[in-house]
Amino acid sequence: MFETAFTPITALIGGVLIGLSAVLFMALHGRIAGATGILAGILMPNSLHERLTRGLFLLGMITAPLAYLLVTGAMPAVQVPVSAGFMVASGVLVGIGVTLANGCTSGHGVCGMARLSLRSIAATMTFMIVTFATVFVLRHVLGA
């Protein structure tokens, strides 16, 4: 387990940038900027054009740590407090969940909530509560 510092300023700046990205994607391309939709659109696209545009979005995302390195001189911190087995189990569960729910933190939690979509509000409340519960059980009941 890692202690992490409370960083409200960079958290707020980062959050605003995520929001600006969502607003620009809607203003220019008319679409919801959800990470699930971006990845699914590359893996199983409806058209070649969809795969190309989502692929460029993903390429932009992946370029961000390198841009961060150029500006700050260091890669962004990625601290992984769980085992490789947990990473795989988590990845599969997240993949199943976001596909069934048609969205994740960005699609439902940011874009959908900003549209005041009841569907997205229900989805976000559900995954937030379950995530809180999962972390509590793993860390304080099972002691993982």
Binding site: I13, A27, H29, G30, Y68, V82, S90, G95, G97
Partner: protein
């Protein structure tokens, strides 16, 4: 312009993720650990993103159409069913195990860290497997024909 803008919007999204700390699983898990090593930073990430998007969408969606497309593609589905709630619960379970959501993990693939690539590989298996299973279950006649 259209394609370059998509890349730049993705870069903006990724920058937001790495600056905010959403790409750091330890930070995300600590947000959810109120009883332990609590780090409330994520409230500011979600708050900043939500307020910006809420105001921005009001301005953008009042326009007749997006710049590069003929119409806005906003989801019209309003059903709150077992699939939505069950899927969100499974997502929450997975998120609580490792602290990566798709939007947090995809940008930090750029760090080249093997743990991130392992997670995204498993994420892809989950997404593609579920898509195939849903398609097979929803159209059994079409598959046997």
């Amino acid at each position: 312009m259209k394609l370059i803008s998509t890349f730049l919007i993705g870069l903006l999204f990724g920058a937001g993720i790495v600056i905010s700390g959403m790409g750091n699983p330890a930070k995300v898990l600590n947000f959810f650990d109120i009883a332990g090593s609590w780090d409330p930073s994520l409230i500011f990430v979600m708050g900043g993103a939500l307020i910006t998007t809420f105001i921005g969408y009001r301005l953008v969606l009042a326009r007749p159409r997006p710049v590069f497309e003929s119409k806005f593609s906003v989801p019209s589905n309003t059903t709150i069913d077992a699939r939505l709630i069950g899927g969100s619960a499974i997502f929450g379970l997975g998120w609580g195990i490792a602290g990566f959501c798709p939007g947090g993990a995809l940008p930090v693939m750029g760090t080249g860290r093997w743990e991130v690539l392992l997670f995204v590989g498993a994420l892809i298996v989950g997404i593609v497997g579920t898509r195939i299973a849903v398609k097979a279950l929803s159209a059994p006649q079409a598959r046997s024909a």
